[in-house]
């Protein structure tokens, strides 16, 4: 959690961290700015709260963070830009020097952010050229930065938001199930109110209206894919397809509260009936899910759970990434990922690689699946869970697991 940052900085001998300014959405900046948005830079020295340096027009908004806020014009950015004839690199060099002197930033400095890459590389050049004497730029191992490690556990404020988004997302999923069940079918396809086939596009419109009602944002879209598409885990589904009876539908929903905190859940449905082969594989996935829930306890290395699920599937005759890395049949992905301001964040659950251990305060998905593109079906079950202070695994998602949706009509 955020309170861990100073300890992590000390362990890694990082004296200060800098989030680069930029207009795009940046979870690092949002995290350090206590949920407020700006396009400014964030400087955090070890042992001190972050300070924000923002565009003059953003000062009021940034002040909602409760942090110390400065306008970039206190450092004469606009004047410098004109003095340098619009040369942004030269302006950055001079402006960063003034800012670092003002806040006495020195020593080992690490940069983070979701940044325009060319601009960031120019900034790195400017920092090295202008301040090589006072700072040393450091990079961290990928997926093992101080932020990755801080994101791994959630504090009470974050948990409240994660519970809220879980509640709302689950409501959307249940409403969609109920809405589908109220339809009737003919000739193997579901019919809409006007008697024409109900399409995936129609369903997505219904889901979006429910997300809107719940005040949720859907920046990453959703997956509502049937048949062969359901067997390709990231296929989002084809809007013009009618809903067909007896095929698997993978419905993966991962919206967020405005400005942050995601939920992530998946249900697999067969409308009308499930062919025996699909029901059997569904039961296997369900059992893998239950075994994983059972095993996720404090102190377990995440890959042990992933490897267990792989072995479980392999014993039942399914290929997996354990013995066939890169396979596109069987169990083809990893079991889980943490989530928060990012839809995917630590802890990750890599196959065979021991790098993350479960801790109190983790919030992560559990999402085993089986995929058979040639046979035209895919199956996934996914909930978001919280490893609580008591050591119990709390399932935040609240939605039935039944495979078959029986139609009313």
């Amino acid at each position: 959690m955020k309170a861990d940052l100073d300890r992590l900085m000390a362990e890694r001998e990082i004296d200060a961290l800098l989030i680069l300014p930029g207009e795009n959405e940046d979870p690092y900046r949002t995290y350090l700015s206590n949920g407020t948005r700006s396009s400014g830079m964030v400087i955090k020295k070890r042992g001190q709260p972050p300070v924000l340096v923002v565009n003059g027009m953003e000062v009021d908004e940034a002040a909602r963070s409760g942090l110390e806020v400065h306008s970039i014009d206190e450092f004469e950015y606009s004047v410098l830009l004109r003095v340098h004839g619009g040369d942004l690199s030269a302006t950055y060099r001079e402006c960063y020097r003034r800012i670092f002197e003002h806040f006495d930033v020195r020593g080992r400095l690490a940069l983070y952010g979701v940044s325009d890459l060319n601009t960031a590389l120019r900034t790195v050049e400017a920092l090295k050229a202008g301040m090589g004497d006072r700072i040393e730029l450091v990079t961290e191992p990928v997926r093992d930065t101080i932020f990755d490690r801080a994101y791994e556990t959630k504090d009470a404020g974050e948990l409240a938001l994660l519970r809220e988004v879980a509640r709302r997302t689950s409501a959307v999923m249940r409403a969609t199930r109920d809405w589908l069940a109220a339809h009737r079918a003919s000739d193997g396809v579901v019919l809409g109110a006007d008697g024409s086939p109900l399409t995936i596009g129609d369903v997505k419109r219904f889901v979006r209206s429910q997300l809107f009602e719940q005040g949720l944002e859907d920046p990453e879209g959703m997956i509502f894919a049937q048949g062969r598409d359901a067997a390709v885990p990231h296929s989002t589904g084809q809007d013009d397809q009618p809903l067909r009876l007896g095929e698997t539908i993978v419905f993966d929903l991962f919206p967020r509260l405005p400005g942050g905190y995601f939920h992530d859940m998946t249900r697999t449905w067969c409308i009308g009936y499930a062919p025996p082969e699909i029901q059997a594989d569904y039961d296997t996935v369900r059992e893998a899910f239950e075994r994983a829930v059972e095993m996720c306890r404090v102190g377990i290395a995440t890959n042990e759970v992933q490897d267990m699920v792989c072995q479980f599937f392999e014993e039942r005759g399914h290929p997996t990434v354990l013995s066939a890395p890169g396979t596109s049949e069987g169990y083809v992905h990893s079991l889980a990922h943490g989530l928060g301001l990012n839809i995917h964040e630590a802890p990750y659950f890599p196959t065979r690689i021991t790098k993350y251990w479960l801790q109190h305060g983790n919030v992560f998905t559990i999402e085993p699946g089986l995929y058979y593109p040639e046979r035209g079906y895919g199956i996934r079950i996914e909930d978001t869970v919280h490893l609580s202070e008591s050591g119990a695994l709390e399932i935040l998602t609240d939605c039935p697991y039944d495979l078959v949706i029986e139609l009313a009509g």
Copy 2:
């Protein structure tokens, strides 16, 4: 436009460009992938179409781009990751080497993207360490990259999308105006249907419902700010405030079509009546707007228009960024910006700095304003325009400019 990229690469002696893989939204990747989404890398060699290298699960989605698509597992990413015990830097180094050899990428290579910065810096280290013999990494001037220059003009397909988002956004703005006008007031505040004061939060909910009806995304939020807040150009407004008569409301709306292409427009309204001082300053902003529209023709340097507007305001006694860089009173920002897949992109309109010239195919805003926080009001008028093949300036926004909204009740 995109067709300019090869010429721009030739002019700048860039042999290949690389968009780094990553999960966050990346307009560079979307642009080169013809509007499709993936988290993959894009490689474009000069004179050749882009190729995509994506996660195996994303191959089907990426293929909708019509481009050559490869799975990262063709280069044994998953195997390499395990061989290297989860060391992502080592995996990247080896994987990039295989990919660059396969596609014969060599020479001057420039990196672009909206990227996780620590990961990107590690990737740069890996590229330098593993391939210093075959590639030279180049960076470009900030706000003057080959993408900045390509984004400056829009092709026919992009224009169709920009017209569509203009049509829908204008409809939302007009609907909001009409909806407000149907209310009544008492004691200087607007009343809702239940007789209690209508708040900014209520208005934003109405606007969001209209955006939803129009199928627009609102990833950057909106500005609906009154009184002193309207005088701070980036203040988004306070949800709990009742709408007060006779104060300026700055309503800045900048949604996009799903996955891309923004519109940007602002209207300033006074409900019930406008105090004479505000009406006078509004008329001045309106005249600045008309003069800017008049002046925007092919071949004009963008700063000439900005500087003209500054001079116009200064002659009428308003401070501006021309003689007072960083001012927070008067005319405090720049006149305009291009827009497309990015809400802000080239051409920019800097003060006094000659760097962009108007061309056929530009799509940009025109948005003069006057801001007086101490006096409690701000004013801005903004349309999005297109500089057409005929040389005429086509205003894409379609919404009346009247300041006062007369209430029905």
